[in-house]
């Protein structure tokens, strides 16, 4: 895209629990992606995508989810012409992609794949600078941009000189995302980008993507087979069914509350009632709780929460009579902590706690009180009555 670089401007500096970096974004360019009656039939006759009609809204993360062989990846790869449709039209910002020369088209669309697909023979910095260099930026400018991107995706500057083989899977995928963002494309295609990393790293990467998207406002198409990932990341979720049919295209809450057919219902899963809680932020009453510190002598009557010097939870004490000294080895370890965000977190904290009391913590991790499962159920009923849960 000629003239593209000129429109890039610095829009701000963010400090948000992570690295401090300069965010560079394209001034107000937002792209819509439209699929119009798109069909892909492979040479062996299998229909990968069947008459797909779908509009990906500008500035959103739209997730394509479904079992293998449902056509989600094929649909994604038709956007940047890695695959061409058999019939139908795909429009990016109103322009038919088939009228654009594939390499030129792809340089304007970020592309992130499973396993990252980094170039093993190039340093991290050179990997990130790939698209700017292909688009004719001069070397110094491309390198400077690559160094910025390294910071934006949360990697230390000294990673720039390393080679991909020296990075962990999660770090490689961060570099993959940085490479896709380097030329600041308005559209980003992500094909199961986080499925090859372990669950803890995956969650980090997902949160990082949400944080980045809040800053960058890209139009992102994200493919996954993991419904939890889809519900977490997607503003809109397209559920694909085997045979290349689009079964339902809706917001996550609608998908959970009103699956369009049996396939969607079973794919979304049996615990979808529980998952619905992820999207609710209603108030749950927080009850006070007795706390004690290690080394103190206390009289235990009921469950007592033991905390450290900063008032952060260490574990529970119970089942002793009379006055005792609080000792580390007597503690019963606790469950998950509720940070006051979603109802799902509140219920999980209560259910996983040995005392059935979910520990509520503030931003610093200090105890503010406890919640009970019953309160969560009541909050859900209240939310339902208020019409917050889609029917």
């Amino acid at each position: 895209m000629p003239g593209y670089a000129e429109r890039v401007k610095v829009v701000g500096i963010y400090i948000q629990g992570g690295p401090i970096g300069v965010v560079v974004a394209t001034g107000g360019i937002r792209r819509v992606i439209e699929f119009r009656a798109v069909t892909k039939r492979f040479e062996d006759g299998t229909i990968a995508v069947d008459e797909l009609d779908l509009t990906v809204e500008a500035g959103t993360i739209t997730v394509f989810v479904g079992p293998s062989g449902c056509g989600k990846t094929t649909s994604l790869r038709m956007v940047n012409r890695m695959i061409d449709p058999t019939s139908g039209t795909i429009l990016v910002d109103g322009k038919d992609v088939l009228t654009v020369d594939p390499p030129t088209l792809r340089r304007g669309i970020g592309y992130v794949i499973q396993q990252a697909g980094l170039f093993p023979h190039r340093t991290v910095l050179d990997n990130i600078a790939t698209v700017p260099l292909l688009s004719g930026w001069d070397k110094r400018k491309a390198r400077t941009r690559a160094a910025e991107l390294l910071e934006i995706v949360g990697l230390d500057a000294n990673f720039g000189k390393r080679y991909p083989a020296q990075l962990s899977g999660g770090q490689q995928q961060r570099v993959g995302v940085a490479r896709a963002l380097a030329a600041d494309p308005p559209v980003l295609l992500m094909d199961e980008p986080f499925s090859a990393v372990d669950p803890v790293v995956r969650e980090d990467l997902q949160n990082e993507l949400l944080r980045l998207q809040a800053e960058l406002d890209k139009t992102i198409v994200f493919v996954t087979h993991d419904i939890d990932e889809a519900l977490k990341l997607g503003e809109r979720v397209a559920v694909f069914q085997t045979g290349g049919h689009l079964a339902q295209y809706a917001r996550p809450t609608e998908l959970l509350a009103a699956p369009a057919n049996d396939f969607v219902a079973s794919f979304v899963g049996r615990d979808r009632g529980y998952r619905t809680l992820t999207f609710l932020h209603a108030d749950v009453p927080v009850h006070p709780i007795d706390t004690a510190k290690l080394g103190e002598r206390i009289t235990v009557t009921d469950w007592t929460l033991v905390v450290d010097e900063e008032n952060r939870p260490k574990g529970w004490l119970s089942g002793v009579d009379g006055e005792v000294e609080v000792r580390e080895q007597d503690l019963i370890s606790g469950g998950s902590l509720y940070d006051g965000t979603t109802l799902r977190g509140a219920l999980d904290a209560a259910l996983s706690s040995p005392s059935a009391l979910g520990v509520v913590v503030d931003g610093a991790g200090a105890v503010t009180g406890v919640v009970q499962a019953g309160d969560v159920i009541q909050a859900l009923a209240k939310a339902r009555a208020a019409g917050e849960v889609p029917k």
């Binding site: 940047n80 890695m82 390499p103 030129t104 088209l105 792809r106 340089r107 592309y111 794949i113 499973q114 396993q115 990252a116 697909g117 980094l118 170039f119 093993p120 023979h121 190039r122 340093t123 790939t130 698209v131 292909l134 688009s135 000189k161 390393r162 080679y163 991909p164 083989a165 020296q166 993959g176 490479r179 896709a180």
Partner: protein, 220 residues
């Protein structure tokens, strides 16, 4: 070994230094010509994934050719001189280089190639900027194997009246001078080691540190 260390054999137009240079000359020119033919062929077939059977068939056919027979055939057709030597040696060097290049390009991670296309490289860029650089270790493998064979086989140049270290072997044989024969053989072996070391150095300079086994490349 007395023959080898006799100062009289280390000078003049039939001396050891000149024969060494001739031998090295045959080897290097052969390798350049063979590489110019074999690397593009192997790379093209590896990149497109089409015609792999041609590479395998051609390699096997060429390997089955006895080099001496090729040499005599070309001598009968074109006469004595350096030309038949180069034909025979180039045909000998092509299969390992071509097979190494083909295997190297095929072995590049499909995800890497997919990403190269996906970020907007043209087919030539995918091949030259991604596939070939990543295939270099295997290309060098084939190339160095071929070079060893060529150094050893270049002795037959003397068979058609040309130079090289083969002179000592063939002349020694004719004169029943086993010291001279042994000297020729030892020099060929030494040259083979040196040539391989030279290409190993070239490989170190041209292959990205990112392709070395994990933990040894680049700066931590």
């Amino acid at each position: 070994m007395g023959w080898l260390f006799d100062p009289a054999h280390w000078s003049g137009s039939t001396g050891i230094p000149l024969r060494l240079l001739e031998h090295l000359g045959y080897t290097l020119l052969t390798m350049v010509i063979a590489a110019l033919i074999a690397i593009p062929l192997g790379a093209f077939v590896g990149h497109t994934g089409k015609g792999g059977f041609v590479i395998v068939g051609l390699s096997n056919a060429l390997r089955a050719l006895p080099t001496t027979a090729v040499l005599i055939l070309v001598v009968l057709w074109a006469g004595l001189g350096d030309f038949p030597v180069y034909v025979a040696l180039v045909l000998l060097a092509i299969p390992p280089i071509m097979a190494g290049t083909y295997a190297g390009v095929r072995a590049v991670d499909p995800a890497t190639v997919d990403a190269a296309r996906g970020v907007g490289m043209r087919e030539s860029g995918v091949l030259l900027q991604v596939e070939i650089p990543n295939a270099l270790p295997l290309i060098y493998g084939g190339f160095r194997g071929a070079a060893l064979q060529v150094v050893a086989t270049a002795t037959i140049a003397a068979y058609t009246g040309a130079g090289g270290l083969g002179r000592f072997v063939f002349d020694g044989l004719a004169l029943q001078d086993f010291g001279q024969m042994l000297a020729g053989a030892v020099l060929v072996a030494l040259l083979a080691v040196l040539v391989d070391l030279g290409f190993a150095g070239l490989q170190r300079l041209t292959v990205s540190p990112g392709l070395r086994p994990v933990g040894t490349g680049g700066k931590k």
